[in-house]
Each structure stands twice: as C-alpha cells, then as structure tokens.
Subunit: 156 residues, 2 copies
Amino acid sequence: MKKQAIIFGSVLAVLAICIKWLEYRYIILTHSFEIYGSALAIIFTIVGIWTGRKLTDRKKEYIREEVIVEKPIYIQVAGTDNRVVHKSTSPEDLGISKREMEILELMAQGFSNQEIAEKTFLSIHTIKTHASNLFIKLDAKRRTQAISRAKELNLI
Amino acid sequence: MKKQAIIFGSVLAVLAICIKWLEYRYIILTHSFEIYGSALAIIFTIVGIWTGRKLTDRKKEYIREEVIVEKPIYIQVAGTDNRVVHKSTSPEDLGISKREMEILELMAQGFSNQEIAEKTFLSIHTIKTHASNLFIKLDAKRRTQAISRAKELNLI
DNA sequence: GCTAAAACCATACTTTAGTATGAGGACAAT
DNA sequence: ATTGTCCTCATACTAAAGTATGGTTTTAGC
C-alpha cells in the first residue's frame, strides 16, 4: 500500500520532469497538443489500471464463502447396499493456492510444463516447483495421477 | 466487455471534443500546461482505475457453476459375448484397438508405464509402443493431452 | 493357406517430467 | 517489525516418457 503510493508518486515526478524538459525544448508542445495529450491519456490510463488492480485485487483469493453454490454430488449405485458418494473438495482444504490451481487446470488440459510456462509468462522452473507442490498436496507421484485425483475430488 | 469498450471510447471522444473546445477558446492552453496536463492525468487515472476494475473485477475466481451435461454412457449388455454398446465416439472410429483402449484407461487413472506393464503382464516396451500409437491416433503429443482428448471424445 | 492387422518385444536415443535444495521478493497478519 | 505464506527463479540431478526402427508371433477374415 505504502509502496504503491511511492511508486505512483515517482511516476508522477518522472513525468513532471519529462514535461518540464519538453517545455524547455519547445518540442511538440505548441504544435501537436493532441499527440501530447493522447500520450498522457494513454500513460495515465495504464497507470490507473495498474493502480486500480493493485487496490482492488487483493484478498479475493477464495470468495466462495460469499456465494452460495449448488455442488453436484455424484452417487454411484452399485447395488442397494453398496453406494459410494464422492463429495466435492475445495482447494483450501488441501492447501492448494490460486497459482497452483491455475497450473493444475492447464496440466489437465494436456499442456507441457514448457507450454504452461509460456502461457503464464513464468519460468519453467516455477512451473515445476508448483507442480511438485501440487503432487505433494494431492498425494500423487505423477501429473496424470494428480489430474485423476483432482477429478475425483471435483477440483477441476 | 464490448460495452466497456464503447463507454471507454465515448469518454475519449467527449474528452477530445472538450480539448478542441478549449483550444478554440484559447483558454489555459498556452500558459499553464501543467494544470492542463495534471487535469488530464487525474482524469485518465480515474478512467484507468474504472476501466481496470471493470476489466478485472470479474467474479472468475472460484465460483463453480453448476452445469448440467448430458453424457453418453456405456452400457454393458449381459449375455451373448459381453459386447459394449456406446453412443459416443467409438474407439473403432479412430482405429484404436482393444489393447490400446485398455492402456489408455490405465494411463488416465494415473499409472506409469512401468505400473501398467506390471498390471497387464506386458513389457514396458510394449506399453510404450501402444502409447505412441495412441498419441498418433488421438493426435496428441503427451499422455496428458491424450487423456484430455479421450475425455472430450467420451472415450473414457 | 494367405494376408492384414493386432499384439508383442527390443535397442538406442532424445526429450520431458520430477526431485532436492536454496534463495529472494511481495504481502498480509500480528 | 517480524513471521508465515505465496510466488518466483535457479542449478543440478534422477527418473520417466516418448520416438524411431526393426523385428516375431497371434489372430481373424477371405
């Protein structure tokens, strides 16, 4: 929070300096204000988006408690006596984080670590780390097993 | 999403008009660009925040929607010779043999090639051969992709 | 009986996947 | 201000997975 303010202020300061500099050099200013203004608009739109995200993005990790959701329950009837009920499990129950869920889903869609890394703009090392942690949390030895488990638990 | 784009564009247009109007009236423009620029910065920061919120505030996080899906099922017909009747894409359509299906199912359950070899009393080399052939028939590069495809096609 | 397809096995090789470990930054909670 | 969690990235390694190729053997159909 404090940090964002500092960065925001710094950006403003830098821009102010740039403006002054341009002013001294008589460039662009007098002739094409539209371009100048547009640039400012674009820059501050970006800054605004970034700031807005930082300000509003926090702590919406698992907002499920705010929402009432009907969860499907699969009942496998093998006879009259032998019935198995698969309940849905939440990521939190297993300590699975947001990023890990993201990667789990991509794994289940059949992407390689390399592809996942490219899709998420992360390093392949990071993907491997997340994957390894996932396997521990899902009690799996391989990604295929992790996927299988996740489907059983209705995580994905 | 489209709506936001339209609103955003409209705001831009309105601002452009305002700028032009100000320009025509010789106001502020020539003397205090700082004020003008600051106003622009503030306005577009606000616009940016608003846009950012609209774009990212989606409740995408972990809300599971209940979707009712009709899923074709395999019906085991007792009698004759244990034939399997199915309504979805059949293995035969893709030229997938009986053994290959067997191995596909074990793969989907998360077993390693070695484990599948042990379960089926085959060599691991054989499993690999079957797997490779499966990937060609399922147009997959990896086993996870093959599993994903097979699920899509309701093969498993 | 001949043929085609399926099933089986193997060697040699390349490519991914996965483990172990360490480490630094961001951030929320205390 | 510190602590714990999450996220990130890295190196170095081992274990699997996957490819290419070339075989032999069943098996089912004509």
